[in-house]
Amino acid sequence: MTLSLFFQHLANGISLGSLYALIAIGYTMVYGILRLINFAHGDIVMLGSYIAFYGVVMFFLPWWVSFPLAILLTGVVGIIIERTAYKPLREVPRINLFTSAVAVSFLLENLGLVIFGARPKGFHRPPVMDTVLYIGGAAVVSYTPIIILTALVLFGGLMFVVHRTKVGMAMRALSKDIETTGLMGVNTDQVITFSFALGSALAAAGGILWAIKFPQIQPLMGVMPGLKAFIAAVLGGIGDITGALIGGFLLGIAEIMLVAFMPNLAGYRDAFAYSILILLLLFRPTGIMGEMEPEKV
């Protein structure tokens, strides 16, 4: 393999990884705060890309209006889901919350089938994301660096919110101890809702970038990225935002490199990701960043 080809694969892996990471953040934030695996998160990804798609083809918005708007609207959908399907179940046994999450997932998928139709739709890449660039001898289509850069900007923004703002401080406190955070005068419900909005908005960004990379959308498109991002979140240590980023990039790069170096194993790409999950759960269930906490009695 030539060096330029290697870099091409690497860029490809990093861009796929940044998509996994964007989606994984939502899983990990919700888990960190509510100890809930939000099964509907992958379908939020789908919703984000559809809203962006319809903004362009139905409302004739320029992509640079439609895409941010879709991110915003999907954040609002996240708030609605949290308020209606999760918040009323906070005091009951956790299994009810899980069941509700599965129900929301099926609801979104089937609403998608009814409203958007089962037939895949072609997602139009904006022209600036569809030009071939030559970087140091390697040919890259411009969407690859754009995906990576967009993701990095979003990660930077997220880190700023979580580590440098008041609400971010409350989010971190909440993930440790909800009751005591309330004793600090923090309206914990508001902060939980804000976390859902943030996670859903990032998932929408992931969905739009996913549709730019693989320009075809359909109502079940969120399932696979959702599962992979979940694996990424577990790999990094679920509950830890930095872990989600690391897990996402690692999984994306590993997947692409597996196919690049062992083309005859290409068909096992998804099996590879699930094997990582199984091995992880067996040998290091807390992931890379997660600390082993002794079981509390």
Partner: protein, 236 residues
């Protein structure tokens, strides 16, 4: 003044409080004493809005706090240092203190000044302000939990078992600080198993047994009673 009237609480089917009434007048230290499971923590948690009572009232200056959620109770001026300190070990010492001031609308300047006051009271916290709270010792964590609650500028400070798990010398330190705070005007409602230490700083004390108040009176008088001396002060 904080006033609790005829409070009944059921806790998972158990009748935990059978009609508790107590008063915490401004500027005083009131101690709530009793054995494990007597209902001391439940009383505090009910005042703080964590536990909902089935009957009774909690009044701050005549206004009922029943039905308010815990973050709203803090905003009305009642802060709590929970049992076992429960500092946020994933946050720095400074962040813990700032979180205590979360609900305040004051300017950053005012909050900065209050932070400095906390640091004057607990110099160890200033030395360690950049460290994660998880690296602090038990005594330091208790100071942090106290400082964090004070950052909300509470009218009434409630403290659940400040000496729990602390070496006697450190517990003594904590009680000294509480006395100091009270002399500066802080009203305090204190729960403590170490009745001797609590009575030494309290103005008034209530003794709780299985969800009932069985004795009350000025702390100095109560400490002289035979029953109290036998059951709570370990004097025979």
């Amino acid at each position: 003044m904080l006033e609790v009237r005829d409070l009944h609480v059921y806790y998972g089917g158990i009748h935990a409080l059978h009609g508790i009434s107590l008063r915490v007048p401004d500027g005083q230290i009131v101690a709530l004493l009793g054995a494990n499971g007597a209902g001391k923590s439940t009383t505090l948690r009910t005042i703080a809005g964590i536990v909902k009572p089935s009957e009774g009232d909690v009044l701050l200056d005549g206004e009922s706090l029943i039905g308010l959620r815990s973050f709203e109770v803090v905003r009305r001026g009642i802060a709590m240092v929970p049992e076992g300190r429960r500092v946020f070990t994933n946050l720095t010492v400074l962040e813990n203190l700032r979180l205590g001031a979360y609900a305040r609308r004051d300017s950053n300047q005012v909050i900065q000044r209050d932070l400095q006051e906390i640091f004057n009271l607990f110099p160890r916290l200033e030395e360690r302000k950049k460290q994660s709270a998880g690296t602090l010792s038990g005594g330091e964590q208790q100071m942090l939990a106290l400082g964090r609650a004070l950052m909300s500028k509470p009218r009434i400070l409630m403290i659940d078992e400040p000496s729990l798990g602390l070496a006697p010398v450190l517990a003594q330190d904590v009680f000294e600080k509480l006395k100091e705070l009270n002399q500066a005007g802080q009203t305090i409602l204190l729960i403590e198993q170490n009745a001797r230490a609590a009575m030494s700083i309290a103005n008034y004390a209530y003794i709780l047994e299985t969800g009932n108040i069985v004795l009350e009176g000025p702390a100095a008088e109560l400490a002289q009673q035979d029953e109290v001396r036998k059951s709570y002060l370990g004097v025979h």
